[in-house]
Each structure stands twice: as structure tokens, then as C-alpha cells.
């Protein structure tokens, strides 16, 4: 299987603090991958390392087998939409499309114009005056005009309303169907991801907590509810106990047959929250002056 993005022991430090640490991952070609994690988990750092804007402090990252840092060859193959879609706000969409043709080796202006026309984006209005949803669509159209083999999107839908979010994802999925571009998108909006993404990377505290095919991950986890002191088969991800009952999130490749357990399937969202919620010890009752 061809891997578009590979990281081995990848790390990046800001002012002595590791934003990303010991990160090892493989992103297979042709996937739409979700990059998920709490704020500060290292999502943006990983994307900036992949696009070549940052230099690793440890380990390495490879895109199409090459080191991306200040590498114009790999950069030409990558479409990148940074957080908050920071296109030049004083320019019109039409000017941005023409500019793109001057700074990119490969540039499909017709593709960009056709997309923007279909969406009814005004060509001669400064993009700073467009709605958030329209601006996101402009940024996506510009990224796609490069005809990239890898598309990196940092929180592309975070600031959009539900309708604009859906339209953005629909446009993205339509393009993936046509071009087969590999996509890595970071997002907080977990509910959208289950439908649009088929690969999952969960980051927490700068490390990869979980990665793999979405259907395999969903099929491989179960929430079990049963009497306390019952031992669950499989790897326990998270468990809660009352004096009588245990609730256990397990990763298992075999079905749970023990009738003492009530078995629940999980949505991708519940599952991710189960992983992320596992990190305990973040309480600070003393600082708040309240009893624990």
C-alpha cells in the first residue's frame, strides 16, 4: 500500500515544550483522513510539518517519500488550507484565481472558476466581504486548482454554520470522487467526520492515541455494561464503576458472547470521546477552593 504521508518519531518543540512528540503514523493514498484531538494536541503543528512550513526537531516526516521542509517539489503536490481560511482579504476571488496562476507551476484556473460559479461566489467583491462559508469555498477552490495529490485542511469547517459546513464537505467529497486526492483534515466537529472520513488519526498531548480505518475502528470497539468485577475480553480503553455495575469501553476483534454483559455499539464520536476522556488527573479542586 502506498503511503502519502509518513512520520517516524516526529517531534516539534516550541520554547522548550513539545507540541508534537514521538509521532509515528502512516496515511495510505486515496483516503480521507480525520485528524482529531483537543486544542493543543498538536494537530496544526503536524499539518505545518507536513506542508513543509516547519522543520522537525526530532524524527522525520515524509510526503510522497520526500522531506517536505522548504521543498518546492513536494509543495507543488500539496494543497493547504490553513485555519480560518486566511486568503488575502482585500483581493477579489477573480484576482486570487489569476494570482494563483502566476505563483503555481500547475494551475487549473478553469476548475477554480467553474467551482466558484457553481457556488454563486461574486468574482469582483473583496473576499474579506464574503460570508465565512463563501470564503471557505474560495480557499478550497484555490487549493484544488493546484490539482494537489495531497490536500491538507486545518479546521476548515470550524467557523461555518451547519449549512455552509455541509456544502463545504459536499464540495470536498465531490472533488475527492473525481480526483482521488488524499485528504487530511483536522476538525472538532466529530459528527461530520463519521460520514466524510474513512481514516482516523487521534492526537492527544502531542502523541498519536489511535489510528486506522474508520469502519475497522468502529467495528472493533464495544461499550459493555454489566455487574461489577466481571472481566471483559479485549483491551480495556476506559472503565467506570459504581458499587455494583461496570461500564467498560473495550477494543476487541471477537464478538462478546457472555450474556452477563449488555453490549452497545458506539458511534465514532462516542468512541473518540472515550479515548480522549481517558486522560484523568486534570482536576484542580484546591485551586478553586472547593472540596474534591
Amino acid at each position: 500500500m502506498e503511503h502519502v504521508l509518513e512520520a517516524d518519531g516526529l517531534g516539534k518543540r516550541y520554547a522548550g515544550r513539545w507540541a508534537l512528540r514521538d509521532c509515528t503514523l502512516r496515511l495510505p493514498a486515496g483516503r480521507v483522513a480525520a485528524l482529531v484531538g483537543p486544542n493543543g494536541a498538536g494537530k496544526s503543528t503536524l499539518l505545518h510539518l507536513a506542508v513543509g512550513l516547519l522543520r522537525p526537531d526530532a524524527g522525520q516526516v515524509r510526503v510522497f517519500g520526500e522531506h517536505p521542509y522548504e521543498n518546492t517539489t513536494t509543495l507543488a503536490e500539496i494543497g493547504f488550507v490553513a485555519q480560518d481560511t486566511p486568503v488575502y482579504r482585500d483581493f477579489t476571488a477573480d484576482e486570487l484565481v489569476r494570482m494563483g496562476g502566476k505563483v503555481n507551476r500547475r494551475w487549473d484556473a478553469t476548475l477554480a472558476r467553474t467551482r466558484l460559479a457553481q457556488l454563486g461566489i461574486p468574482p469582483r467583491k473583496p473576499v474579506g466581504k464574503l460570508s465565512g462559508g463563501q470564503r471557505a469555498q474560495v480557499a478550497l477552490a484555490l487549493a484544488l486548482a493546484k490539482r494537489p495529490r495531497l490536500l491538507l485542511l486545518d479546521e476548515p469547517v470550524a467557523s461555518l454554520d451547519p449549512l455552509a459546513r455541509r456544502e463545504f464537505l459536499a464540495a470536498l467529497m465531490g472533488n475527492v470522487a473525481e480526483s482521488g486526492t488524499t485528504v487530511l483534515l483536522s476538525s472538532h466537529i466529530l459528527a461530520d467526520l463519521e460520514r466524510s472520513c474513512d481514516y482516523l488519526l487521534v492526537l492527544q498531548g502531542g502523541r498519536v492515541r489511535l489510528s486506522g480505518d474508520v469502519d475497522d475502528i468502529v467495528a472493533g470497539h464495544r461499550q459493555l455494561v454489566g455487574p461489577r468485577h466481571l472481566t471483559a475480553d479485549g483491551t480495556v480503553i476506559r472503565e467506570r464503576h459504581t458499587d455494583r455495575q461496570s461500564t467498560v469501553l473495550v477494543r476487541t476483534d471477537v464478538p462478546i458472547f457472555d450474556p452477563a454483559w449488555t453490549v452497545h455499539e458506539l458511534t465514532l464520536e462516542e468512541l473518540i470521546l472515550g479515548y480522549l476522556g481517558e486522560a484523568e488527573g486534570a482536576t484542580n479542586h484546591a485551586e478553586w477552593g472547593v472540596p474534591a
Binding site: 455541509r166 470522487a177 473525481e178 450474556p259
Partner: protein
Amino acid sequence: MIEFVLDGRSTANTYLQLVQQVKQALRVGLLVPGDKLPRVREVALSLAINPNTVLKAYRELEIEGLVEGRPGVGTFVTATLAGASLAGQAELRAELVGWLGRAHAAGLDDDEVTALIDTTRRAERGTSGEGTRDGARARG
């Protein structure tokens, strides 16, 4: 041509929902051999879902011998499910009605009946050894 609709409250995988919707359409005769399924790109666009998910659903239907992909043309229905198991179902249903009557007479309410069926099915799968992950998944 059918149009896919997703059940937002279903916990079933999106691809399974697509598979089930095609099968349901085959059962009720909404789709018949020769009919074309929507193009992958159209489904991805209209539902904002991953095209790989649509491909996976179509591949699954192909493996089950229900549809056939013709490169560059589309995916076409090649079989039907209409009426295949209806005869057998009637007899099973009659037996089940009798059993449900006995269960209610014994004081079980609907929830208890569902729980009993669920645990029995799982225990039975566990002993017969035919339980696979797919079997467990299909319950979704």
C-alpha cells in the same frame, strides 16, 4: 433510479446503510435487474459522504451478486430479492406469534422479550462457534 437517504440516528455504518437501502429497494421491487444505481460522485456530493464509502457499499453488493459494475458506464442491478424468502417467513412468523403469546402469558413485557432474544442469540452464537465479527456487526 433511487435516491439514497441516511438515517441520522442509526448507529449502522454509512456503507451498511447504503447496502441495506439497495436491498430494501430490491425486496420491494423499487429496483429491478437492469436498473442503474446513482453514480458514486453524485451520492458523495448529495449526502456529503466519502466516495470510498459509496464504493465500498457497491463492492459489497457486487460480492453478494446483486449488482455489477461496468467500468465507465455505471453500476447496474443484476438480481432481485423480491419474494425470495417470503414463504418461509410466514411459517416462522406464525411460530413466533405463538411463542410471544406464551411469553406474555408468563409475564414478560416487550423489553424483557427483546432482552431474552438478544442474550439467547448471543449465547447461542457463542456455543455454535459460527459467530463472526460480521455476524455481530450485522445486528447494528
